[in-house]
Symmetry: C2
Subunit: 395 residues, 2 copies
């Protein structure tokens, strides 16, 4: 399996992706369609687009949105710097939206922006942000061979048919059936032909592309077992889950910077090192922090997710009271409030450090606090100066 | 519909509930079965048991667990003070476990603790903690009338059948089918008879109680549309979602205590009031906090979920620096660490307050910080003294 590169296997000439994002999100019970709900300040659809554009062998990504959301979608693409993305206008149903997306590649296309017709097209929901290159590759290769392919998962619940009286008619044997998930992939000519031939009834009431390929092109799609992370954000609880997964993933990425030297290593070890390196007890909003913020602003990182900056200060004085300069703390809070607008979360950490304290304990305690700040990314706590490891001051 | 009381409608004599909790949780990818995974420090099964025991007209709750988890389950019941709960030993499959649970009520029971046979029995999964009284009442009343009843939900994904070659055979029309969820309810005699008659194959490979009632007793169960919160905790993402929902629910419950006078009102209003009431600038670990902790410990509240205690201090001095007594702060942290073991999270909030500051702004800022602390319940931040609203000190 190839991790990247322009070719997917020897024979697939070009791969494009169509992301239907026209849903109204009524099941979520909110006014905002779920693909535009924000997770860590960023719309869900942007995560899904990012998952697609990370894959170098996908040449074009078409996002199909309802007419009223075209400007919103364009501004999301601009704000988050997405590449290779074209916005298409959706129809009133899912199938009509996908068909509109596919038309951008066809010779009979209604748009001025005729895109290069792909050999294989991926269809993937905008509300499934955790799709990996691995499964995309699998469905593309299977579609190349079979004409159509789709990811499947085991059923979580038993499926039943109800009679006209609202009572059980029969239940399906769970093991014999699967849930049809996304991504799916098709030879472009197959799925386009299916859409051209299908009835208005199919376009209005159908939802399943694999079904169209079977009905109109006699293609029995290859089914590919997917992983649990292909799930679709449908309900509010799914947004909660998405947020936790994203926070979890982000909190794996820790970058410790000591005097503007950069390294990505185990947090405990480096905190230890930074303590040893005898950081001076600088004021709260130091020049270094400002430099880092400038560097971050020049990069795309704070756009894609909130960046946590923790300014570590050492207090090694022998006094039993610690004087906080309120003016200085006010500046720190003001600074934190300003950079929060730029999606950078600044926290202060004051390490009480004495030669005769057990160093490892202090480090462990600081690491736990640091991890908690990184994991939670709580915007309300920015600008706070947190105290770390204040054991009894008696020698 | 009756909110409580011993009777459910005139004719249902007794209602019991059986919660199969024998699953191995292999889909979660962890060693701990999901019903025993902790959410906010408390096992999921305890939330589900609590949801059942809140309903006064359910007389007995049977939790069926695998033999190796009997002691764990008993200790959960003891620790969280659950009432009306009996632990039963599960079989090697879901159906065998439910059957074992039902046997506790039968005259041929294998147990010494023969319980009063209910007219209607509810069957509900231990991993569906958000079940409400409303749906329980609906399925019980429907079971009384029809012999069997179960909650259903619309399908989230299209269901497909695959052929022997791993390719699509056909897809089901989504609108004609439903996902069978829990709770389900049965006339006891119906479901018990079904289990007594059913084959080893059914006991070993079946999963659906409604199916048994149909197959062996010719009962077409009444299907009741449930709400989205009936979902089953299946994957790790579901645990994340459960945690967020529980945190969300908890953060609706705010109790502000001013000088040990208690009231549950809008947080902003009371913070405002507490400011007005000219709380003295007490030391951090005050007697009042200790009294509250004592009161809480005597109640069951900290057992059921982490309690947040925020100690609010005012600083109204005119100095531009604020001296923190490190000994005092150390005591505060130590105190916080101790009560954390008792599931009580203590935070300090220092309000910088001057007559010439805009009061409402200070209050809003304090309320936002308070809400964030209550919502997150971050155990790593206990014992911290957070500063609130330090506008420029210039007049």
């Amino acid at each position: 399996m190839e991790p990247g590169g322009r070719e997917v296997g020897p024979a697939v000439k070009a791969v494009a992706a169509v992301l239907p994002a026209g849903g109204s999100g009524e099941r979520l019970g909110g006014a905002t369609p779920k693909q535009f709900c924000t997770v860590q300040g960023r719309p869900l659809v942007s995560y899904t687009v990012r998952a697609m554009e990370r894959v170098s062998w996908i040449s074009d990504i078409i996002v199909v949105v309802s007419p009223e959301n075209i400007e919103t979608m364009k501004s999301i693409i601009e704000k988050y710097g997405h590449k290779r993305v074209t916005v298409a206008e959706g129809g009133i149903t899912r199938h009509r939206s996908i068909f509109n997306g596919l038309k951008l590649f066809s010779e009979n296309g209604f748009s001025n922006h005729l895109l290069q017709k792909p050999e294989v097209v991926i269809i993937h929901d905008a509300v499934r942000p955790f799709v990996e290159e691995d499964i995309l590759l699998k469905v593309v290769m299977a579609a190349k061979e079979h004409g159509a392919a789709g990811a499947i998962r085991p059923l979580v619940s038993t499926v039943i048919a109800s009679g006209a009286d609202g009572c059980l008619d029969h239940s399906l044997e769970r093991a014999r059936y699967r849930a049809s998930e996304m991504p799916q992939a098709f030879l472009f000519d197959i799925i386009y032909q299916a859409y051209q031939q299908c009835t208005d009834y199919d376009l209005d009431y159908g939802t399943e592309c694999l079904h169209l390929a079977l009905k109109y092109c006699q293609i029995n799609a290859k089914l590919v077992e997917g992983t649990a992370d292909l799930w679709k954000v449908t309900y509010k609880r799914d947004l909660y889950a998405a947020e936790s997964i994203i926070k979890d993933n982000l909190s794996q990425q820790i970058c410790i910077i000591t005097d503007v030297k950069e390294a990505v290593v185990q947090v405990g070890f480096l905190l230890h090192e930074s303590l040893r390196s005898q950081l001076k007890d600088k004021k709260y909003a130091t020049e270094e922090i400002q430099q880092l913020v400038d560097m971050l602003e020049k990069s795309d990182i704070p756009l894609l997710h909130p960046v946590v900056l923790i300014s570590v200060h050492l207090n090694s004085s022998e006094n039993t009271s610690f004087s906080i300069d309120l003016e200085e703390l006010t500046r720190m809070k003001k600074f934190a409030r300003e950079v929060k607008r730029k999606n950078i979360l600044v926290y202060g950490l004051l390490l009480q450090y004495k030669d005769y304290f057990p160093l490892q304990e202090t480090v462990n305690s600081a690491a736990a606090l640091t991890m908690a700040l990184i994991k939670d990314r709580n915007p309300e706590l920015t600008g706070q100066l947190l105290f770390c490891r204040l054991p009894s001051l008696k020698r």
